[in-house]
Symmetry: C2
Subunit: 329 residues, 2 copies
């Protein structure tokens, strides 16, 4: 078992990711879209989520498939990025056909990056354009770290970022994760070089330093001075033909990957959530076993993606925290 060829969520065939950012504002937007609409679900565990269209994703609701998922900076103001994406999709004729009207379904979630050294005095909300621009460059390959919605992200002690990873299962299913790491907690043990996610690292994808050999057993450090500047949001994806209920279970299980890679996570000040996306290209043969394995793989990919996001961050003027690479790289 190993990661897919790109080690990105786009190893799930048919999915594309686009990023747009404004380095002056220190923010950006990330769009996951599909060559076709895809099944989507969500599980929210943080205490301060900022979301759009997540109620629609419950398994008993009308719509099972979406046209894009958006992760953005900007706190509640950044939800406008999804409107930009929806408008652009409509102009392309992509959306749900409701009596001849095209309505793109674009669930979204945001992180709080309004206190990160960027210039937030914009004359006009920049997020609709960031959403449109991110969609316009959606492709299989994309960068990690200080890009897209990860541009202005922080963690306790180090700059955060955009991360991704993938895994190909013995069943043939591909699983991937995409994450904006903007956690209240730490991604490394005691603020040192060793990532909490190290037990799950493949092929030195975040430095290959291995797990820490010593731990503070009571790791309580958080970025107290930026206590509300938090939230980690993720998408896990698979080519398995999950229904929305199964995708919800995968989103739930994937939160374990956040818990293992960030300490603490799921705090009252984090809006931590996970979307799950399923393209449906590969059948599910064992409804319990496959969903179990895909959920577990999603958690492993999410842990790895979190570490890769922090590992890949690059420094910029005015940053409130150093990057992992500037410190240990």
């Amino acid at each position: 078992m190993k990661s897919g060829p790109l080690n990105l969520i786009t190893d799930v065939e048919g999915l594309l990711v686009g990023n747009a950012e404004d380095h002056g504002i220190k923010t950006g937007t990330t769009v996951l879209t599909g060559e076709q609409p895809f099944t989507a679900a969500v599980h929210v565990m943080g205490g301060a989520p900022g979301t759009r269209e997540t109620d629609l994703l419950a398994p008993d609701r009308m719509v099972q498939q979406v046209h894009a998922l958006v992760l953005s900076g900007g706190s509640a103001l950044g939800l406008a990025s999804a409107s930009g994406v929806a408008d652009a999709l409509r102009a392309q004729g992509k959306g749900l056909d409701v009596a001849g009207q095209i309505v793109p379904i674009v669930p979204a979630a945001i992180v709080f990056d309004l206190v990160n050294g960027g210039d937030k005095n914009w004359p006009e909300n920049p997020y609709p354009a960031l959403g449109r621009n991110a969609l316009s460059v959606a492709a299989r390959d994309f960068g990690l770290g200080t890009v897209g919605a990860g541009t202005g992200a922080t963690t306790a002690g180090f700059k955060g970022g955009l991360g991704s990873a993938s895994l190909v299962l013995p069943s043939g299913h591909t699983v991937g994760a995409l994450v904006v790491v903007n956690a209240l907690g730490r991604a490394t043990v005691d603020g040192g070089p060793h990532f909490w996610a190290a037990p799950f690292e493949l092929e030195a994808e975040f430095g290959g330093l291995g797990p820490a050999s010593a731990y503070d057993p009571l790791p309580f450090a958080t970025k107290h001075q930026l206590r509300n500047a938090a939230t980690t949001i993720a998408i896990v994806a698979t080519d398995a033909a999950l229904d929305q209920a199964q995708a919800t279970r995968v989103a739930t299980a994937a939160h374990d990957g956040m818990a293992r890679a960030l300490v603490p996570s799921h705090t009252p000040a984090d809006g931590d959530l996970v979307f799950a996306a399923a393209t449906g290209a590969r059948p599910v043969n064992d409804p319990v076993g496959d969903v179990l394995t895909i959920g577990h793989a999603a958690a492993l990919c999410l842990s790895r993606a979190i570490a890769r996001g922090v590992y890949s961050a690059t420094s910029a003027p005015g940053d409130p925290f150093p990057t992992w690479k500037d410190t240990f790289g």
Copy 2:
């Protein structure tokens, strides 16, 4: 910062725990009760929960306080244990006074331990008596491992058990956890002696071997032959004056402790859930900060309690798995 004097959930003053078991059936029941009623909440994350009175614990519902929380073996049949507890509490005059009628509120959750080598051909449901007996011996001190609801518990590769741990915070609040470890996943790295929870161990409370130095990065092993014989259920508790909404947030955050101590956890076949209990003896001074810290501490205690439950298990004839101690102790 260190554990409380007993390193048990009952370091939270006013809480008492009682256990009863039947070693022939290989099952049992654990009751947490209070000298006074206490605030309770719940967060369910597993795919196969078995519960009673959990709907009542949502923050918008009528009742905020309960008289006992019950963890039991027996799958759905074991929910009868809570009826035994409720009947016994009523006989003591303890319960909610509704127009002169005493109604004890006893939320409960079960684990599946029906395929563990015990004799399940009982002539009469044994759980009401197990509940009554557990309540009758409720005290501050209690045993760990193969006792109470942990009696028939298993994990992937090793016997499970009842675990507990506590922590005293700088704020003066005490936090504790109580858990029945019956996971589909593993509590130790690659089935070896090192617990996943090792980074959080205090004072060699589960052997002091420290963390593993090497990891299989794709730890997919589960007890496939007993795929449905799973579920880890826990109670985290504090003396903080949490309201039910805050207690719900603490229950949610505490699931991180399960994710870090069991790999995988929160699978479709695990009914994983966490109750949170708050006695209210100590005020909450900082609604965000205290709830954040108490939730994080609850996660740390739960990880430690899970390892202690597996570490403390003792062997018995007919067990499907060896104990950790027989293998490594």
